[in-house]
C-alpha cells in the first residue's frame, strides 16, 4: 500500500516531469528557431561579421575576440558559414560539429571518443567563444571541472 506521503511525492514528481517536458519543449523550439534566425542583408562585406556584430551583439563579439579562436583569427564565417549560404559550411548559429569542428579538431574528437565517449556537440563542454587565451578561462571551462 502506498502511503499518502509517497502518493503526494509521486504527484509532485509527475507534475515536475510535466513542467520539465514543457520547459524542454520551449527550449528546443527556441533553439531550433535560433538555428534558423534571419539575418540582415549585407552583400559586400558579409564575411566581415565582427565589424557589425561588435555593435549588434557586443557581448558575443567580445567573447569571440578574447577567445582562442579570436586571438588566432578563426573568423566567424569559418564555423557559422554565411547568412546567404555562400560559405563553405552551412549557415548556422550552432555549428554542426561533424561539419565544422572536425576540420581542425578531428584528432582531439577521436581521442575524446576513445577515452570518455562523445557528447553530440563539442561546445557543450568546450565553449568556442568563451575559451579564452587570456584570463585563464580555458582552465575554468566545464571540461576542466
Amino acid at each position: 500500500m502506498i502511503s499518502s506521503t509517497r502518493r503526494e511525492n509521486m504527484v509532485q514528481a509527475k507534475t515536475g516531469w510535466i513542467i520539465l517536458v514543457a520547459i524542454s519543449l520551449v527550449f528546443w523550439v527556441s533553439l531550433s528557431w535560433a538555428g534558423q534566425i534571419k539575418h540582415l542583408v549585407a552583400p559586400d562585406s558579409a564575411a566581415d561579421c565582427y565589424a557589425c556584430h561588435k555593435k549588434a551583439t557586443p557581448i558575443i563579439a567580445e567573447n569571440w575576440y578574447e577567445s582562442k579562436h579570436g586571438v588566432i583569427l578563426v573568423k566567424c564565417f569559418v564555423c557559422h558559414g554565411q547568412p546567404d549560404g555562400q560559405g563553405s559550411v552551412p549557415w548556422a548559429v550552432s555549428p554542426d560539429p561533424k561539419i565544422v569542428c572536425t576540420k581542425c579538431h578531428d584528432p582531439a574528437i577521436k581521442r575524446m571518443k576513445a577515452k570518455f565517449g562523445l557528447a553530440p556537440k563539442c561546445y557543450t563542454c568546450h565553449p568556442f567563444h568563451q575559451n579564452s587565451l587570456h584570463h585563464r578561462a580555458y582552465s575554468k571551462s566545464q571540461s576542466k571541472k
Partner: protein, 753 residues
C-alpha cells in the same frame, strides 16, 4: 521522494538542455551529409607553414578538407585552408584549354598549336641570339619535381642559366643570410622548437596573419607557460602583438641599429656566451676579414642603446630590456620573414638577427634557434633546395664554383663544361631585360608577375612589347599576367596532380592527386616534359616518364650532398606525412636540428664537438659586423611618409585563389590603406574616406582604415587586390647580395581624395 520547486526547475532545465543538445543532431560517429568517399593526403596550397591537409573527395569532386593529424600542424588548418574546396570548385574561372594571342586577343587553340608556337619562338630566339636570350620564371608554389625539371631543362638541356622565380622576391635574403652565416642555406631548427622555447623574438613578421598555424603554436606555448616571453618587433602593431609581452615599434628600416644595439647590451651586461662563440664562431668585418672579439666590441660602440634610440625611435631602456630577455632566456627562438627579407639590407638584417644567437649560444638545442619563416608552400623545397635560381645548382651548389658544376655534370651524366659558368639574370635584371626586348622568350609558370613585381608598371609595359614572347602556364583566367601573355597554357591545379612540397622546416611532404584535371588541363610536369621533347633536348638529359621518375633522380642527386634525403622514397612519402632532411636512409627518422652531433646525420657520432658548421671551411659559423644603413628611398619633404605592403589573413599573394572563395572575397573585397589615427587627424581623413597615395612611380586611391596599427608616419596597403595593384607604387631597388627588392619601404605622400 519530495522535490522542491527549485529541484524541479533544475532538473527540467538540465533535461531540456540535454534534449535540445542531443535530440536534434545525429551522433558524431554517424555519417554526415556529403561524407567523402575517400580522404586524400596533401599539403595546403597557401603559405610556407606547409600544413598537412586531408582532402575529402566524393564522386570525383572535392567536398571538404580537414587538417592532417599526422603532419606538423596536428590536424589544425587556418581559415584559408578551410576554404580550399570552394577554390578548387571555382571551375568557371579556370583556364581549361590552351590559347594563343592573335590581334591582341587570346583565341582558343589546340595543345599542338600552342606548343608548336612556343617551341618555334624559343628555338628562333636561341638560334638568333644564343641561349641567354631565353628564360624560365617559376614559382615557390610549383611542385618540387616541376622546379627541378625546369631547372634541368634550362641549365643542362638549353645551356641557359636564366632560371628564376618569385622566391627571389620573398626569401632570397634569408638564403643569403643562412649562406653567409653558416655556409649552407635553410633553417637549422624546426617547428618543434616552438614547443620548447622560453622566449620568442618575432621581428619583421606578422605570424598571426601570414603563418596562422605557427602563430597558434606560439600562442599555445605561451598559454601552457605564462613565463614564456614574447617580443614582437614591428612598426605595425599587428594581431601578432596581441600575445606579446613587449611590442617594439620603430622607424621603418632602422632595425639594423636595434639589432646591433641589442648585441651591445648583451656584451655590456655580460650576458654573452664566450664558451659558445670562442669555439664555434668567427667574427667577420663587412668586407669579409676575420677579426677578433675586441674588434667586434669596438664596432658596437656606434650602437649604444642611446645612439640606436636616436636612429630608431625606440627608447634605450626598451632596447636594454629586450636584449636582456633575449639573452637571459633558457632557449630563445627568433622568427622573421618579409620584414627583414624584402629590404635592400635584407641579408644584413638576417645576419644581425643570427648574430644574437651566435653571441648568446641560443642555437642547436631545443627551443633555441634562428628561424626564418618563408612565404610560399614550396619556396624552400622546390626552389631553394633544387637550386632553381640563376646563381644556384641543386642541393646548395653554386654555378660560379667550377667544382660544383663539375660534380653536378657528373651526376647528371653531362659532358664536362655543359653547364654555362656564368650565372644568369636575377629576377629584377631578368624582367628589366625582358622589358628592354633583350630576353626574347620567357616561360612563366605558376606565378603572376604582372601583379607581384615591384614598380610593376615598368614590367607590364615591357610585357606589351611585340618583339618579346611570354608563355604562361596558369590555372586561373583572371590572373593579371593572362592579360599580357602570348600563349596561355591550362595548368592542372593543386589537387589535380601529384608531387612534393617542402616547407620552412625542411619538411618534404607528398601531395597525392585527389581529382582529375578539368578540361584540357595538364600538370606542369607534363607540360615541361612536352616542351623539352619538342625543343629537342637530349632524352638522356631528360629521361623521365612521370613525376615519380623525377623525384627518384632528385633523391639520388641530393645523396652526394649534406641535403641528403635519399631515404625519402615515394613509398615512404605515401605513408608518412612529411619528413625533414637530412634523411639519408629509409630507416632514418629525419632531422630536427642541423649541425648538432647526434641529430644531424652529416656529423659523425664521435665528432669531438657538440656542433659542427660543416658548410664553412673551418667548421665555424660567422658573426658579421653589418652597419646600419638607411632604406633605398627614405621619406623626405616631398614624400614625407613610408609605404609598406603585406598580407591580410584572408587573402594570399595576388588573390587569384582566395578571391574565388565567396567568404574570403567578402571578408576583404578590396585593398585599403591603413592610416594611423594621428596622421588621419592631420590630413582630415576619417575611417572609410578615400585617400590618394602617391609615390614617385604612380598614384592610386584607397579607402582608409584609421587605427593605431601603423605607427605615425607609416601607411600599409595589402597587395592581393588586382583592381588596386599596390605594386604600381612600390620600389624595385634591391639588395646587392640577395637581389631581393625592397617592397617594405618606400616614400609616399597621402591626402584625402
Amino acid at each position: 521522494m519530495k522535490l522542491t520547486r527549485r529541484e524541479v526547475l533544475k532538473s527540467a532545465a538540465a533535461a531540456s538542455a540535454f534534449m535540445a543538445l542531443n535530440g536534434t543532431l545525429p551522433d558524431l560517429a554517424g555519417a554526415a551529409p556529403g561524407e567523402p568517399d575517400k580522404w586524400v593526403k596533401a599539403v595546403c596550397r597557401f603559405c610556407g607553414t606547409g600544413c598537412g591537409v586531408m582532402i575529402g573527395v566524393k564522386n570525383g569532386k572535392v567536398v571538404t578538407v580537414k587538417g592532417d593529424p599526422n603532419n606538423h600542424n596536428q590536424g589544425f588548418i587556418c581559415l584559408k585552408g578551410a576554404e580550399l574546396p570552394s577554390i578548387v570548385n571555382a571551375t568557371k574561372s579556370r583556364v581549361t584549354r590552351p590559347y594563343i594571342r592573335k590581334n591582341g586577343q587570346l583565341e582558343p587553340a589546340s595543345w599542338d598549336e600552342a606548343m608548336d608556337l612556343v617551341v618555334s619562338k624559343f628555338k628562333a630566339a636561341i638560334k638568333e641570339h644564343g641561349p641567354t636570350s631565353v628564360a624560365y620564371y617559376g614559382s615557390g608554389q610549383a611542385l618540387t619535381e616541376e622546379s627541378y625539371l625546369a631547372n634541368k631543362i634550362w641549365k643542362a638541356g638549353l645551356r641557359c642559366n636564366n632560371v628564376e622565380g618569385n622566391p627571389r622576391l620573398c626569401m632570397a635574403s634569408a638564403v643569403g643570410g643562412y649562406y653567409t652565416s653558416f655556409g649552407k642555406d635553410e633553417p637549422i631548427g624546426c617547428y618543434e622548437d616552438i614547443d620548447a622555447a622560453t622566449c620568442f623574438f618575432i621581428i619583421g613578421a606578422n605570424m598571426s596573419e601570414c603563418h596562422p598555424i605557427l602563430f597558434k603554436r606560439v600562442a599555445a606555448r605561451k598559454q601552457a607557460d605564462p613565463n614564456v616571453k614574447i617580443i614582437v618587433v614591428d612598426p605595425r602593431k599587428t594581431n601578432t602583438a596581441r600575445i606579446a609581452d613587449i611590442h617594439v615599434s620603430f622607424k621603418p628600416g632602422t632595425d639594423l641599429a636595434i639589432l646591433n644595439a641589442m648585441a651591445y647590451v648583451i656584451i655590456d651586461e655580460e650576458l654573452d656566451n664566450p664558451r659558445f662563440y670562442n669555439k664555434y664562431v668567427n667574427f667577420m668585418t663587412n668586407d669579409k676579414k676575420k677579426v677578433d672579439f675586441k674588434a667586434y666590441q669596438k664596432f658596437l660602440q656606434d650602437y649604444t642603446p642611446e645612439k640606436a634610440e636616436k636612429i630608431s625611435g625606440v627608447p634605450a631602456d626598451t632596447i636594454r630590456k629586450i636584449a636582456k630577455i633575449f639573452a637571459e632566456s633558457s632557449a630563445t627562438m627568433s622568427l622573421w620573414t618579409m620584414g627583414l627579407n624584402q629590404r635592400i639590407r635584407g641579408v644584413w638584417a638576417n645576419n644581425l638577427t643570427t648574430n644574437l644567437h651566435l653571441l648568446t649560444g641560443h642555437l642547436g638545442k631545443p627551443g633555441a634557434t634562428n628561424f626564418s619563416l618563408t612565404g610560399q608552400p614550396n619556396a624552400c623545397g622546390g626552389v631553394r633546395d633544387t637550386g632553381s635560381l640563376c646563381h644556384l645548382l641543386p642541393a646548395g651548389r653554386m654555378i660560379k664554383k667550377a667544382k660544383d658544376r663539375a660534380a653536378l655534370e657528373k651526376q647528371w651524366g653531362l659532358k664536362p663544361g655543359t653547364i654555362a659558368p656564368k650565372p644568369g639574370l636575377h629576377t629584377i635584371a631578368l624582367w628589366n631585360a625582358f622589358s628592354e626586348g633583350k630576353i626574347k622568350a620567357m616561360f612563366v609558370l605558376c606565378t603572376n608577375p604582372a601583379q607581384s613585381l615591384p614598380n610593376v608598371n615598368m614590367y607590364t609595359e615591357g610585357m606589351k612589347r611585340k618583339d618579346n614572347f611570354m608563355v604562361l602556364s596558369e590555372p586561373f583566367m583572371d590572373a593579371e599576367t593572362v592579360k599580357y601573355c602570348d600563349v596561355l597554357l591550362p595548368a592542372a591545379f593543386w589537387c589535380e596532380k601529384r608531387g612534393v612540397y617542402g616547407c620552412t622546416e625542411r619538411r618534404y611532404s607528398l601531395l597525392m592527386k585527389a581529382i582529375e584535371p578539368i578540361g584540357e588541363c595538364r600538370p606542369d610536369v607534363d607540360i615541361l616534359l612536352d616542351f623539352a621533347k619538342r625543343m629537342g633536348v637530349d632524352p638522356k638529359v631528360i629521361p623521365f616518364n612521370n613525376v615519380d621518375d623525377i623525384w627518384d633522380e632528385w633523391r639520388e642527386v641530393s645523396s652526394a650532398t649534406p641535403y641528403n634525403f635519399k631515404g625519402m622514397t615515394r613509398k615512404r612519402q605515401e605513408k608518412e606525412s612529411g619528413i625533414r632532411w637530412p634523411c639519408p636512409t629509409e630507416d632514418h627518422p629525419g632531422t630536427c636540428h642541423r649541425y648538432v652531433r647526434g641529430e644531424d646525420p652529416n656529423i659523425p657520432k664521435d665528432y669531438k664537438n657538440k656542433m659542427w658548421f660543416y658548410g664553412t671551411k673551418d667548421g665555424k659559423a660567422r658573426l658579421w659586423m653589418r652597419p646600419y644603413a638607411p632604406a633605398a628611398e627614405e621619406p623626405d619633404a616631398k614624400y614625407p611618409m613610408v609605404l609598406t605592403t603585406g598580407r591580410v589573413i584572408d587573402h594570399w599573394h595576388t588573390g587569384t585563389m582566395t578571391m574565388k572563395s565567396p567568404v574570403l572575397r567578402r571578408s576583404f573585397p578590396n585593398a585599403y590603406v591603413e592610416v594611423n589615427i594621428d596622421d588621419a587627424k592631420k590630413h582630415g581623413i576619417k575611417n572609410g574616406d578615400n585617400v590618394l597615395l602617391e609615390t614617385r612611380r604612380d598614384k592610386m586611391i584607397f579607402q582608409a582604415k584609421v587605427s593605431d596599427v601603423c605607427r605615425p608616419g607609416l601607411v600599409f596597403v595589402p597587395w592581393f587586390d588586382k583592381n588596386l595593384i599596390i605594386n604600381k607604387l612600390t620600389l624595385n631597388a634591391f639588395d646587392k647580395g640577395s637581389k631581393q627588392p625592397e617592397y617594405k619601404i618606400c616614400a609616399v605622400r597621402i591626402k584625402k581624395a
